[in-house]
Amino acid sequence: MSRKRPPLLSTIGTKTTMAVTGLLLLGFVLVHMLGNLQVYAGREKLNAYAKLLQDAGGVLWVARGGLLAVFVLHVVSAFRVAAMNKAARPVPYVSAVPQVTSTAARTMLLSGLVVAAFVVYHVLHFTLGVVDAGNHGHLDAKGRHDVYGMVVAGFRQWPIALSYVVAQVLLFFHLAHGVSSAFQTLGVTHPRLAFLKGRFGTVVAGVVLVGNVSIPLTILLGLVPCGAC
C-alpha cells in the first residue's frame, strides 16, 4: 500500500501534535503565572526574580526559541485541523442542534486566535516596551530593571487591565476544553486517570484564570502598593 501521508500529518498525528504542544504551553502558562504572582511579595522579590531570568542569558534564549517553536506548531496544527474539518463537510446542515458539545469546544479556533493576538500585545507591552513605553525600562534602587513598577503602573490604567482580563477569560475557555481534550487525544483510558478527561480541564483553567486575572484586578483596585512607580 502506498503511503499517502506521513503519520505525523494524518488526522491523529496532527491532533497528537496539537495535544502535546498544547500541554507544553499549559506548562509554560502555569510556571509563568507562579512567577508573576510574586508581585504580591513586593518589589524586591519580583525584580530579583526578573533579574534571575535576565541573567540566564543563553538559556533564556533557548527557552524562548523552544517556546516559539511549540507555539507555532500548535497554531499550524490548529489551522490544519480546521481546514481538514471544513473540507469534510462541504454542505452544511440546514438544522444542526448540538446535543452535548460545549461552547468552549466549538470556539477553540476563535479563543486560540484571541490568545495569540494577546500574546503579541503582551510581548509588545512588558518585554519590548512598545505599548505603554513611558513605564518601561526604569531602574530600581539596586540598578535592576524595575519590573514591579512597570507592572503596577501599567495595570493602574483600566484599558490595559481590561484587555488582560478579557484575554484571560478566553484562555479559560480554551483550556477548559483543550486540556481534557488533550488527554483523550493522547489516549488516556485508565479508569483511575479518567478525571484528567473530565473536570480536570475546567479546574486547571479556573486556577489559571483566577491567578492571572487577580493581578490586573487587584492593581486596578489599588490593592497593590505602588511605591515609587
Binding site: 501521508r5 488526522t11 481538514m84 469534510a88 463537510r89 442542534v97 452535548v100 469546544a105 483523550q184 489516549g187
Partner: protein, 258 residues
Amino acid sequence: MNLTLHVWRQEGPGVPGRMERHEVAGVSPDMSFLEMMDLVNERLVREGKEPVAFEHDCREGICGCCSMVVNGAAHGPKKATTVCQLHMRTFKDGDTITVEPWRAAAFPVVRDLVVDRSALDRVIAAGGFVSVNTGSAPDGNAIPVPKEAADVSMDAAACIGCGACVAACPNASAMLFTAAKVAHLNRLPQGVPEAARRVRAMVEQMDAEGFGACTNHYECMEACPKEIPVRFIAEMNRAWTKASLSAESAAADKAGFG
C-alpha cells in the same frame, strides 16, 4: 397528529438540493418515523410525484441502513435509537420537523435522503482479516479469550455501521466508527498479530476517504444508536501512536508491506 415536514430533496449526486415542505395529516403516534415517511410517499405517488428516497431495511434497529438527521440530530432526538425505531409519540401534534441526509464529503448524496456510505466499508476492508488457519475446525478453547476482552470486543462489535457518528460530528469525523472496528478485532487474541498494521491501515483509509479530525465534542457517542463509548477513540489514538512509532512498522514500511 398533523405535522409540517421540511425534507431535503436532491435529484442526484453533485446537484444542488433544497428543503421541501410537506403537510402531513393523520399521523398515528404509534407509527415509526419511517412509517410516517411512507405515508408521505404514498400520497406523493398518488399525486403522480416522485416519492422521497430514503434508505431502510430491517426497520428494527439492527441493520444500520436508515439514516436521517431529524430536527438537527442524527437518528432524531431519542437516545440509543435508530430513526426506524423512533416513534411519532416522541413528537407533538403541530410540530415542524426537518429531515436531512447525513452530510459529509465522504458520504455523497445519491438521492434525497440516501447517501453512499461505502467509505465505511472501505475502512473495514483496509483492516484486513485475522490470521486463522482454515481447514479442520479448531479445538474448542484452544485460544483462551479473557472474559474482559470478550466483553469489550462485543461492546465495540455492537456498531451497526450506520454512520450516525459521522453525521453528528461537527467535523464529519469517522473516529468512533473506526475506533469501534479497530477495537472489535484488536481486543481479541485472534486479532493481536495484525493489531499494529490494522490500526494504521484503517486510520489511513479513514483519512483518505476525507473524514474529518476528532476534536472531542462527543456528539458521536450521543448520536450512536448502540451507545459505543468514546473511550474506544482514546484507545485507538494510543494504539495508532504506538504502532506508528514501533520498529516493526518502520521495517514493514521499508519492505513495502503495511
